[in-house]
Assembly symmetry: D2
Homo-oligomer: 369 residues x 4
């Protein structure tokens, strides 16, 4: 039998066959397979079952300096409203055949809302969050609870929560939307409902009701109705920043806390369970101290990073990019990744790791993530 290639093994047997046996009978067999809607494993095992993950998604970078102006032009040209629902512009991974997906499981988009615009209410089984890299003035009403959106905040819209957005200011605002659209699409698990065309509320409180109930460290309100998703829907920058700063200060004082030298990180969690804030998406904020590195690691599953402030150099597979505020990049499954910063950097990361952990498919090399 011929040698087994290192990369893959499919076709080996077939090749062998085509040399040593009467081809026409095999051909007829394969035709019979085709007409019976059958596929032999042995001609394609390598592609189906690679030696290690060989993601079709590619390492890819989108610059904020490209994204924001395009979103603004869309703001001028395309109204937002019922049907299209959101003025969201999705990152389409160049490896994914034109699908509007950042990775095989994750959707990432810039959403843009002009002065005094609103995006109408709907809900869906897809899980969503918003992360704000700049600006403020939009409130997202989640199940009727108005949640302010401001720089550095992470705002959740769990599975089947009605939500709508409205801009209360004279200027536009843009932010990052993350969803599990590709995963839910692939799993044929999507349900979608339109909500009322009228805003549930025009209130613009500083603190949402969910924060007033759940926004305290380790305190659980006993009287709150139990829901399957995180009851806390807003994670404010003031806390995230303080938590990251404290980790680096503790490191300087000689105490544990950081993920790696000069690398602080927090995970956003459901305060009622301690699990990931969202069931299918992990959200984290990372801070790399000046001269430090997010150590090299390979993870099964994909992630999207957005630089929040500062700058650095990202190595993703064979790609190397200088990245700065607002820039977004994708790390496909099992592709080596490192992030280095000379001057310091904060970056938001979201990934599909909870999916793999729930299914027993998670795997990683030693590293910091």
């Amino acid at each position: 039998m011929t040698e087994i290639s290192k990369k893959g093994l499919g076709g080996v047997v077939t090749e062998g066959i085509s040399e040593s046996r009467e081809p026409t009978e095999v051909d007829r067999l394969y035709e019979a397979f085709e007409s019976a809607h059958l596929k032999p494993l042995w001609t394609q095992r390598e592609g189906l079952m690679p030696i290690e993950p060989a993601a079709e998604a590619l390492p890819a970078l989108w610059r904020w300096s490209t994204l924001y102006p395009l979103a603004a032009r869309a703001g001028d040209l395309v109204p937002v409203g019922r049907g299209g629902e959101r003025r969201a512009i999705a990152l389409a991974n160049p490896g994914l055949a034109g699908a509007p997906y950042a990775t095989p499981t994750l959707w990432a988009a810039i959403q843009y809302l002009g002065a005094h615009e609103q995006a109408p209410s709907h809900r869906h089984t897809q899980t969503a969050f918003r992360f704000v890299v700049e600006g403020e003035g939009v409130w997202t009403n989640v199940e009727g609870d108005p949640v302010a959106m401001r720089r550095g905040d992470l705002l959740l819209t769990p599975n089947m929560h009605f939500h709508e957005h409205h801009n209360t200011t004279d200027g536009p605002m843009a932010w990052l939307d993350g969803l599990d659209i590709p995963l839910v699409r692939q799993l044929d698990a999507g349900f979608f409902e339109f909500g009322s065309p009228q805003l549930a509320t025009r209130q613009t409180p500083d603190k949402s009701r969910n924060e007033r109930l759940w926004g305290y460290p380790g305190l659980q309100p006993i009287g709150t109705p139990v829901t399957p998703a995180s009851p806390l829907l807003a994670y404010r920058w003031v806390h995230t920043d303080a938590a990251l700063r404290a980790q680096l200060e503790l490191e300087a004082e000689g105490h544990p806390g950081v993920v790696g030298a000069g690398h602080a990180a927090v995970r956003f969690s459901d305060p009622r369970t301690g699990a990931d804030a969202l069931r299918t998406i992990r959200c984290e904020m990372h801070r790399v101290a000046p001269g430090s590195t997010v150590a090299a690691v390979r993870v099964v599953g994909s992630s999207v990073w957005q630089v929040f402030s500062g700058s650095g150099v990202a190595h993703v597979g064979d790609q190397t990019w200088d990245v700065g505020t607002g820039d977004l990049f994708v790390v496909p499954s099992w592709v080596p990744f490192t992030l280095i910063s000379v001057s310091g950097l904060d970056a938001f990361r979201f990934s599909d790791e909870p999916v793999y952990e729930a299914l027993g498919l998670d795997r990683r090399t030693r590293g910091q993530l």
Copy 2:
């Protein structure tokens, strides 16, 4: 704004735009999106986020009378060995663009092993089982433990367990292989390793070692090493049959036990946790008493059925089929399903429901499954 169609909503805004605004600017915007690897949500929301699951996979049927002879011809024409690894012929759902997938998450194949043939050792992160609709004489060695395969048995090959098969008889044997290949492929989570080219053992004991340790109702051996997968790898027909018979007898005696009138069912479980026997695949055996029905139900997630004995009529969406022993059919996500039998029927079912339950995406109408 134009009316919202019942089926979907994408494109609505765009159409509106194309009528009321200068098209060339929008066109230029869309071109800019394209060249920046961006996709607007509003032109495609309907397809991405349908009102309810609209599976591309189709209801489909494969007859045993077609499958088995083709497998036998492959047995004559195609050797089994290193590289192709297995003489397995996969059901290719006609809705899935030529992919060798029964559903978007499940692989189903007939594997055929001729007299005294062997299929070499390997292991992978994909989870697998074998179900035997007829014949015997093959042993599957799982991590070196020889497991007999006989009519009605369910045999497990969990994630990363080395396995190889060998036929000890003078005749061929065929069976159903089920795996989560499409899911793992989509998630870029597959790892694959070749094992030794030599059989780990040629022993052909009646009972495998895992059964000798774990094959007792409710008894856990304390000294057995703990593994992440089910330690019980074989579920024998004698037990399955007795369990189904007892449910129907209890029903006749006026006691609870059946899923619905005349419909008995057991789920194969990990005796150490009570969870599904496999982490990503649910396996069940159903018995429909003469004149009874598996009540109509819609489930998010897909399943594959194989009739084990008897006959009936399956309604899957707009399809209606007479089905008999060995016939395989697919129920895509959220497609209505009923199974009726005049003369009685046993059927094996496997599905991806554990995936949905782990991710909070499970949903069903009232019904029996």
Copy 3:
């Protein structure tokens, strides 16, 4: 057979016997039991297995006006140091035969530390907390992490954490200690180790290291070592107070949040799991708005309350007490309880409910706790 008394049933059979049979044979049998270390069930079932819990512990009240002066006298007369370890004075429930136990599972004590005194380091399997009803100036070093103790704060000392206390001021300080000493004693599960006679640290930071890592709503530091107990060891009054105030404000605005009308409550939780902050003890803070009530309820398991501020009337079984700041009272298992306040009241509560929930023994009538 004689009538069954409502209260219990033991002895019924024996009485019957003593009337109708030769007593000496039965007497000899009972003597034989006694000498063989045997006890017949039928003579004592009522006491062993009552119709409903009949706690030996009694409703009981200890007034702060009594406790504090006695603690102060002990401060003058009794040194604190190695061996006795702590100047802690335990509530001894009058129903528990002189045992130093507030309830069958819970220990509650006033601990008093004079100016510049210290209590030496030790650790034990018993779980502990401190709650501060007044004063400040003591730091408790938990595994070397200095934790400030101030009015309204809850401080944890989980299972097998080394801890020591030292008073940095010129005045004394007293607080409530809660432990599961009776439970662990009954279960013969106690291990105890002395620590160093020297203070681990004399630092008096405003914020402990555990708070710097874990004291943010919903944020989990990724790099922190995993421990079996709550990593957050201090719950500060500023947060507790704000959370309770918000619940009552939300109630006034017409939104859910309170446990009952005018009754706000928070539970202290482990931020990594959402479970009770301590494995065997539940800690809660309750606020009763002026003119409001903690609705009547019966709970299996016992609790200790300490009024933190304000005043009210507690009904515990057949007892009625006016209670004010610092007063402590015990609610035994299944004894009816209500708390009413005309002028408003804050109260700290701790209970053994996690034990019952873990063992499937929890039960309660409808009510607010």
Copy 4:
């Protein structure tokens, strides 16, 4: 300060005080504590918080040759019926001050039912099992499901299941009852209800309905109503024996399976969860091959052993006993234990370990249990 004794530390400070300070003031303080229902920790810490568990329960042995005749005499002299409820004779640990408890958490008793006698229906929050060391002919009806009791069988009566027993033969039968009466009593968590005075059923099927539904390895009936306790209520000797035999055979063949050399063991589990068959009591069967040993171990928590067949020598703390069929002995918390058999031995063991594991209080030295 005086030296700290190795055993304990209480009283040390007080002694110091009595020498160096005015005793009358301290005396008055202690009197004031007493009248205020207060107890100082420092005078009693050692007893409350020992260095390691110092169980009051003693190693103790009850011989079947004593127990059975006494139970038979009780059968002649004491009727069984409403009120006393059961003719059960409890092992009273000599260290537990006359309480009818085998250990601080476990009740163990011989129950005896004469020819054609019945024990009336009741239910309670206490968890129970029956284990049969000899005889047969009694059916226990559990929630109306008649369960045969035969030599070697373990029969469950979970929390709040109505149960009654009746002897269908002309001869008496005796068995071991195990309950968590002391634990539930200590926790004030007991509820008790009388059932109907009439037998729910006089049927005497070979197999109970729960076994017909759940008595198959790894098979879960889908249609069965979900209950909080194990749905399987009978574990038959034929399976237990086969499982133990297989472990020793596998050991002889060079495969893993035994707990230690020549020591096989199975744990009885809830087939729906894999957890212990009972929530508060662990049940196991052990087989010691001729010339083998249950290796020395210390476990936090207590256990009761009953020799089922064969003989051996048990070392429990400073006690050494020759033990044979039917003999019962107690291993208190943290007392060293070994069991040696020259000729081979089977023994049933039950313990309170699930309680400790649920509360995070479990601890053991390396060993086999």
